[in-house]
Symmetry: C2
Subunit: 223 residues, 2 copies
DNA sequence: ACATTTCTGTTGTTTTTACAACAAAAATAT
DNA sequence: ATATTTTTGTTGTAAAAACAACAGAAATGT
């Protein structure tokens, strides 16, 4: 069993608890009944239809937010990693069940926080709750903006445009034209909503034309 | 000039100010330096690149959240109406400029709230701010979930699937198989990211096959 | 080191879409 | 009421994507 103490510093600096004193953080972690849970690769943390009462903070590893469409096609909404959190929007909207799956893509360590428990106990009592809700508001804002960017990515009309938009956005995020992407080919295809083989073909075409170079997960935008 | 008082009840019951006493609301409106502004059809309330320091609450009318892609193609992210608000995620993320346009689709009345002004003055002082930030958190949660749904809509592979997913989701929202949609054909095409004429063709095919009926903006899902 | 599995790239064929051009219908202006 | 503009539906053609099938490369297990 992993110990909370080992991750104390990381938790303290995560966006959820950012700006809190040690005392506030300790109190809040108790109030949340915080515990660490380990998931193996390909495990489901959340399934479509679940009622969500916990917030999950990823301490280490990676998680896909996915949705299965009618005819079994997989849609990847986003890829989350260290210090990201899951399920925030579903605990924020009362009595709404999850519309997505959260699936680990590698062994993943998660801090589980009982959101309901905490809010019902001390919503109006504790001052630290105010800092928390402010943080959560900011986190959701960012998520929102990222979802809009995802919509931009998948809303391009050709595979080429989707790829170039996605890669440009990644370059911006990394402040460099040379960067690693988090997806493998199949996942990237499911994220951009295109056929993998057609996407691979387009990637090598882009490379031949000298617009990009890549090998495995490392990409570089040229010119 | 429209008077704030005329819309007092509506404002009081809007999600932003929900659950506040009259006193709290009045104080907060002052603190926000609230004023009403009228926009004509096709006016831009927000443009891509703007630094956002106001929250906008739509009192009456309709607004498209749009984005122009490289080659001038229009992407409609969402359509907002009465009691919805604009720009929340951009004031929530500090120092982030708007990645979208907000354009009125008809004459629109908006309550403008100076978010920055209020938070800097009384963030830690007033109790009403706590109710407010809680409300904002919930609103953002809902927006988040709706963005995910939009991603689901546009992530279907065929025009037919996009239409059926969109229409099914609208039917769910309206708790009925018979409902009006907010978009005209061109806007719907830009929302679903497809060619308008191809979409029109697919709509009539769906009608001929007996899956849906429609006339103008009224749709009905059959069986 | 070898066998096995997973991932990636390539190609040809079929399906779907975008695009363009136009006609009909509806809405708006005069 | 009539003219004008906007919206919607229809069709044919060209472009793009999905799909399927497979080969080579890379990663993994033993």
């Amino acid at each position: 069993m992993e110990k909370l103490e080992n991750y104390y510093n990381q938790i303290k600096n995560s966006p959820v608890f950012f700006g809190m004193s040690d005392d506030e953080l300790k109190g809040l972690l108790e109030c949340f009944n915080a515990r660490i849970r380990k998931y193996e690769k390909d495990e489901m943390i959340i399934r479509q239809g679940d009622m969500i009462s916990n917030i999950y903070l990823i301490l280490d590893g990676g998680v896909n937010i996915e949705k299965d469409s009618y005819w079994g096609r997989r849609i990847i909404i986003s890829r989350l990693g260290k210090n990201d959190n899951l399920a925030l929007s579903f605990v924020g909207s009362k009595d709404v069940e999850s519309s997505v799956d959260a699936i680990t893509v590698e062994d993943t360590l998660v801090l589980v926080l009982r959101y309901e428990k905490c809010t019902s106990m001390c919503q109006n009592a504790c001052t630290r709750h105010k800092v928390l809700i402010n943080n959560l508001f900011q986190i959701l804002s960012k998520e929102n903006i990222e979802l809009i960017q995802k919509i931009e990515n998948v809303s391009q009309k050709t595979i080429r445009d989707k790829l170039m938009t996605y890669l440009s956005n990644e370059a911006m995020k990394n402040h460099s034209n040379s960067f690693d992407i988090q997806f493998n080919r199949q996942d990237l295809a499911d994220y951009l909503n295109v056929d993998r083989s057609a996407m691979s073909f387009e990637l090598s075409k882009l490379q031949k034309e000298g617009l990009i170079t890549y090998s495995k997960n490392h990409f570089e935008l040229l010119s």
